[in-house]
Amino acid sequence: MKKHKLEEWIFRLIMFFSTVLIVAALLLILVSITMKAWPALSWEMISQVPHGGYYFGKEGGILNAIVGSLILAFSSTFLALLTGLPVALVLNTSLIKRKRWVYFIRYILDLLWGVPSIVYGALGFSIMIYFGLKTSLLAGIITVSIFILPIMIRAMDEVIKEVPLSLHEASYSLGATTGETAFLVIIRQCFPGIATAVLLSFGRAIGDAASVLFTCGFTDFIPDSLNEPAATLPLAIFFQLGSPLPEVQARAYASAFILTIIVLVISILSRIISGKLNKNKINF
């Protein structure tokens, strides 16, 4: 009996420390990046584009990358929402009786979710070369939206499939079509979940570097049109970190700090949204 107690005690200690370790890892990441970034952070950093010699420690900021990343993430999330929301709705309305199909489609989406973003980036680049296109904001947006599409559909699908069947039936019995039921009733019922899915995808879109590395290019200017290349924050971090100069490296950490803050804000926002936007929801 005593042996069991000792064993349990030891394992509980190990398990407790594993949990502490995970929290500590997060704190260590946040604190070390912030401490390194703090001296390099300034208003100039987020309000100006790089001037001549910026990458040798001269004046300028990373406004080009911040704006580029925001445009990229907003447009690709929007594009993925336009194509993904109907898929998530179809899976749970008109296909609801065809269990095998729904299962199969979810299976494919789960597999696509697991495909590394570098594969999307590489293939996107090949396709661009094939059609003779140069790196551009548009190519980046399309690649990123394809990469976040499965994430968004599955996240929305998980929420939509929880809608009770009786709500569908109530809507049909009032004479609504499948489309009306999906877009007017179910979307409203699932609004917080859909918003969370959109924010999750936005976070993925803004943080991913491997898919934009070859498709979106990099430039020191804020893009005027979709055909121009655009800078993105992850790549700005990557390139500045590659510099041998400590000033430029410090700026890379400052850029990493800004990106982390954006991602944190999105994460907090999605928590608030899933808590608050419930007022149109019918509780069963």
Binding site: H4, E8, R12, M15, S18, T19, L21, I22, V23, A25, L26, I29, S32, I33, K36, T83, G84, P86, V87, V90, S94, I105, I108, L111, L112, G114, V115, P116, S117, I118, V119, Y120, A122, L123, F125, S126, I129, L149, P150, I153, T178, A182, G203, I206, G207, D208, A209, A210, L213, P234, I237, F238, L241, A252, L259, T260, V263, L264, I266, S267
Partner: protein, 281 residues
Amino acid sequence: MNFSLVFVFVIPVVLIAGLSWKSAAVLSHSSLSDLLFSSEWSPMKGKFGFFPFIISSLWLTIISIIIAVPVCLSSAIHLTQYAPAKVLKIMHPVIDILAGIPSVVYGAWGVLVIVPFIRDHVSGFFGYESSGYSLISAAFVLAVMIIPFILNLMIEVIRIIPSELLESALSLGAAKWQAIRKVILKKALPGLVSAVGLGISRAFGETMAVLMVAGNMVKIPEHLFDASYPLPALIANNYGEMLTIPMYDSALMFAALILLTVVLIFNLLSRQLITKFENYR
């Protein structure tokens, strides 16, 4: 509305067909076994031996899984069985934030903290000379990155198991730890294994963070503190030059195809296990 489903079917077909079509050139140039098991890498001469990259990728994945899985498993048991519900409530945002941090930030953190630590304190202790940009640094950063992913899945898996099972074991006189080990973990095993499988496929395809800390030298890593050059880093690093050297783009597409195949296989196997786990329950 049904038209939207086209995307779901077109994307995987284009992915697989596109990559196979592009890598056909290098496959007709040299045999599959040469590509996979030769170590000679000189694109200028048309020699593409992916063996060093494949070995690097394998080692990296294995070591990071060895680091991550025990931590995830014990933390998952702690959070679901022992800790008060409040702790799990605090841990959920922690896991979400860890999962949401972009991989390039993990890479920057690796360069800032892990690489100097390995160079100054760890490699010397084991008697190796190292720049810090090494297999072990990359594996460690990768482990921290996949911990939230695996932990989340494991918590879900353990939670699915009905609490009556634990209660009946307890009522038969088992100690809590005995009940957890012999009932819950046994029941959850397929689910836990599939969580690890999904973690493996995640680790195998991770690019940016690994690219930043792995060292990127074309050779088979000899020890933990040696530089490594995994497949995703190879693709990311060389895409710029691939158009100037013949067959190079095809070779890199072949690398992407290897990546896709391995990831898909691990994903398929894990999903299969999960389905079994859910039916079994």
